[in-house]
């Protein structure tokens, strides 16, 4: 038993180590192929990334990435590919900004109202895909990607002067949130860290707890592992699809909040986009594990931060995108290899142990 656990531990480390080594090797080859020195590039990245302002930038960048990854991971854990986190967080942030701009409560009410509106809108938008799946059998990949486009159009329609937005110079945005809606900041030097990082951490803990420690989480994971076994065990698969899409959408609703409540205080044409897709990569990289995804989100932030610096050093600006892609591929492949190897090794081991037992008892019979 102990030996099995030890093997498990080794296998657990084998995958990330294998992935990192492979990713480094491949990117080194690519950088070298562009005629540059890969090791100098890594040196630049580490030096620049470890500066204190870089660290703050990375944490602030990683916060929405992490939330986005959580939203995607909920779907992944039950074999649903919610590709629509992008549309969900944008439409959620937009309506939360509209509602927040019209209300002027004290912060203790104002902020929760804005967050709840965002979660509800996100949940509804994702829930549509869930509903389509269970009633009409529409694949959630198709419906969520369509809903991304529809969401962008809906925002585009309302985000016009005289509808739900105001014009300020070249920018069109929703009315500013009142000061009471400003989320707290952690006073660090040279710049503050968004207070929303605390919410993201809490969301991560909640994700872990709900999935691993509750009946509901067990049901959800059961559906992900085997739909037929889940159904036979008494899980209503249809209801679980809807519930998990609602949950995923609600978390997606949080993705825009660090920006809305901490930086922009409105939803405008310059509101960040594409975080939903980054979340897919991070969820894959972090293997749907709450700690793994946190590390992956930080790594992503680090690569983006240091990528700009590489440009100054004369490296191609696309190199960071290539590194990110290579890392995701390496991780996915490495984990799959290690998983299969682990399963095989375990089967072999069980077979051998039982054969040894059987052999012993046979001998016992003979001698008896």
């Amino acid at each position: 038993m102990k030996r099995l656990d030890k093997n498990k531990l080794i296998l657990g480390f084998a995958a990330p180590v294998l992935a990192i080594v492979a990713a480094l090797a491949i990117t080194s080859i690519i950088i070298a192929a562009t005629g540059k020195d890969p090791f100098h590039a890594y040196q630049v990245m580490v030096d620049f990334g470890s500066k204190s302002d870089s660290q703050i930038w990375i944490v602030n960048k990683a916060t929405p990435y992490y939330l986005s990854a959580l939203a995607v991971a909920i779907g992944f854990r039950m074999n649903l590919f919610n590709i629509g986190v992008d549309g969900q967080y944008r439409i959620a942030a937009f309506f939360a900004a509209v509602v927040g701009g019209k209300l002027a409560f004290p912060g203790i009410v104002q902020i929760p109202v804005i967050i709840i509106v965002a979660m509800l809108v996100g949940a509804m938008w994702a829930g549509l895909a869930g509903l389509l799946k269970v009633t009409r059998g529409v694949n959630e990949v198709i419906s969520t990607i369509m809903l991304n486009a529809i969401g962008a159009s809906v925002i585009g329609y309302f985000l016009q002067d005289g509808r739900l937005a105001v014009k300020e110079g070249n920018l069109i945005h929703t009315p500013y949130l009142p000061d009471s809606a400003h989320f707290f900041e952690i006073p660090t030097q040279p710049k503050p860290v968004y207070g929303f990082v605390v919410v993201a951490a809490l969301a991560g803990v909640a994700y872990w707890f709900v999935l691993n420690r509750t009946r509901f989480g067990f049901d959800l994971r059961t559906v992900g592992r085997s739909e037929s076994a889940a159904q036979a065990s008494g899980v209503s698969v249809k209801r679980m699809v809807i519930t998990s899409m609602l949950l995923s959408g609600a978390i997606a609703g949080l993705v825009g909040m660090p920006t809305l409540l901490g930086v922009s205080y409105n939803y405008g044409t310059d509101f960040p986009t594409g975080i939903g897709f980054t979340g897919i990569a991070i969820a894959l990289l972090g293997r749907n594990n709450p700690v793994g995804m946190a590390l992956a989100a930080l790594l992503w932030g680090f690569l983006e931060r240091t990528g700009t610096q590489l440009e100054f050093e004369g490296y191609a600006q696309e190199i960071v995108g290539v590194i990110q892609g290579v890392i995701v591929l390496c991780v996915v492949i490495a984990y799959e290899i290690v998983r299969r190897y682990g399963l095989k090794a375990q089967q072999r081991k069980v077979g051998e142990e039982l054969a040894a037992q059987a052999g012993n008892s046979d001998k016992a019979e003979v001698s008896a």
Binding site: L4, G217, F218, S233, G234, V350, G351, A355, G359
Partner: protein, 551 residues
């Protein structure tokens, strides 16, 4: 080469057979396996197997489920490579890398699960992959005819396979193998899917093949069949050959003891424990489904029966006649169009599956990989599956993994699940041990009704006896059981009442105390209906008897 020919028509396992085994003949044996050892994940390894099969004989390879028969045959058919040992065919030592190698050397295999394309004709199925032999046209048709006539297979080349019954499909499989030039046929559990009458017809075919000088290796764990058709018997136990037997000198009991290494358990239920308190009542159940051609047809039609406390109701029927759908309707996994299901006086027709399980339905599914296990999850999570809302698995919405783990340890111990621990995945256990885990899990929640679909399929004899004991014991304490099984001996031995299902309807009932497998078999093919009397007097009151009168 010269083969020792046998007299053409042989009586069942008499002296002529004995003669053939006593003098192996001048030619080398058709197949000789020596010292075969194979380690295989999760199941008993084959070790040091010795098997000699003489040409022109039917050689039975028998052993309990999971003893390693199929692995050995896969080795002989080139699907697995042995870790040690040698394979000698007609005196020449060979190494088989793929089934193609085996086919090239005249070895053919008829798998337990047929490998036929339903939407093609028999001719097309036979020539598929062997187009080079005789083309795909009239030459092939003539060859098929020739083979069919030579061995009395009665195969018609131009009918669609989907229009054929199970027995006909099996003959097509045999013909396919012969068409490819096989001189040695391996039949893997060929009788598992057949009713007794079809088994007899198959055996006639095998005798025909043998008379023409072909060699048949016949894998089975059914003693009666083995003794009636085989010339020689090799017994495998726990992955190794433990002995050989000559049918004419061997009694079923001796053979059984050789197979099991101990007393053979019997599924027979002695005293009746049937009460008159209904536990499950199904009334007027109707379910339609759309088949692959888009035609809506009734898969369950007017199903009605009652199972009382302490009663085992056995459901016989050829697979695919609605048994699986009936189980799923009772479990709440399918919604019937009409009819009611009542459990312990409560109407559960509309209740969801989880409620039904909480209310006391235990479920041993037919396909344990699809419906009974999470293969990649550890054993203790599999112990929670299906009972996540019940103790000891959870408290107030939260999982209690410590208690669940402890209880898994208990199940592993009490139900003799052979595993090095409860953290290994379910996929790494052998089929029999997976089944023991499922049975242990379902019995741990004191079910009122147990739905047991093929509860001992793929389970070794020791575990089989244990599962039967568990069912019997729970039945004594008032458990109602719906038993579905393809093993007619198990069905007759364990049931208090028998029903036969055919094309979605309950067409016949019988008293297990007097009925024989043959009589049950004719009702399973739709040849008989009503109340089956042992004296063969079919009457028309198929829905009258509810089984309370078998005390």
């Amino acid at each position: 080469m010269a083969e020792p020919r046998l007299p053409r028509s042989l009586p069942r396992g008499e002296c002529a057979i004995k003669a053939s085994t006593k003098e192996p003949g001048t030619a080398a044996p058709a197949v000789e396996l020596a010292g075969i050892t194979k380690r295989f994940p999760g199941v008993v390894a084959n070790h040091d197997i010795h098997l000699t099969v003489h040409r022109g004989t039917v050689h039975a390879l028998c052993g309990e489920n999971g003893a390693g028969k199929s692995t050995l045959m896969k080795i002989l058919y080139g699907m697995q490579k042995p870790d040690e040992g040698t394979i000698t065919l007609d005196g020449e030592q060979v190494t088989l890398h793929t089934p193609a190698d085996a086919i090239g050397r005249g070895i053919g295999m008829v798998h337990q699960h047929f490998m036929l394309a339903d939407n093609l004709t028999v001719l097309e199925n036979v020539v598929l992959g062997a187009e080079k032999l005789h083309g795909i046209g009239n030459k092939a048709r003539a060859k098929i005819k020739e083979i069919s006539d030579a061995y009395g297979l009665g195969v018609r080349p131009d009918v669609l396979v989907e229009d054929l019954g199970v027995a006909d499909r099996q003959r097509v499989e045999i013909l396919k193998v012969l068409y490819r030039g096989a001189r040695t046929l391996i039949l893997d559990e060929p009788t598992a899917v057949l009713v007794p009458q079809e088994v007899d017809a198959l055996f006639d075919n095998l005798r025909e093949l043998k008379a023409e000088g072909l060699t048949v290796i016949f894998i089975s764990h059914k003693l009666g069949e083995v003794l009636s058709v085989a010339d020689d018997i090799t017994v495998i136990r726990r992955g190794t050959t433990v002995g050989t037997a000559v049918p004419s000198e061997t009694t079923p009991k001796q053979l059984a003891e050789l197979m099991v290494g101990e007393e053979l358990p019997s599924p027979e239920t002695r005293e009746s424990t049937v009460t008159d308190v209904p536990m499950l009542t199904v009334d007027g159940l109707h379910l339609s489904a759309t088949d692959s051609d888009g035609v809506v047809r009734a898969v369950l039609d007017g199903i009605g029966f009652t199972i009382h406390k302490g009663e085992v109701l056995g459901l016989a029927g050829v697979e695919g006649n609605g048994q699986a759908e009936l189980v799923e309707a009772i479990m709440g996994m399918r919604t019937p169009d009409a009819g009611t299901v009542t459990l312990d006086d409560a109407d559960i027709t509309k209740a969801p599956t989880r409620k039904r399980r909480e209310d006391g339905i235990g479920y041993i599914p037919e396909d344990r990989h699809r419906h009974g296990l999470l293969l990649e999850a550890p054993l203790w999570e599999n112990r929670i599956l299906g009972h996540v809302t019940e103790r000891p698995n959870s408290k107030r919405g939260l999982l209690d993994s410590k208690a669940a783990r402890q209880d898994t340890e208990r199940i592993v111990r009490e139900y003799d699940v052979r595993t090095p621990g409860i953290e290994v995945t379910a996929a790494s256990l052998s089929g029999g041990n997976q089944q023991k885990l499922i049975v242990g899990r379902e019995m741990s929640h004191q079910p009122k009704l147990l739905i047991a679909a093929h509860p001992t399929r793929g389970v070794d004899v020791g575990a089989q006896a244990q599962i039967w004991d568990q069912i019997r014991e729970a039945r004594r304490e008032g458990l109602a059981v719906l038993l579905i099984s393809a093993d007619l001996d198990e069905l007759i031995g364990l049931s208090d009442t028998l029903r036969v299902m055919f094309r979605g309807r309950l067409v016949a009932d019988a008293d297990p105390a007097t009925i024989t497998p043959e009589e049950l078999g004719s009702a399973m093919t739709g040849a008989a209906s009503g109340h089956l009397e042992h004296t063969e007097e079919p009457t028309e009151d198929s829905n009258e008897r509810e089984g309370g009168d078998s005390e």
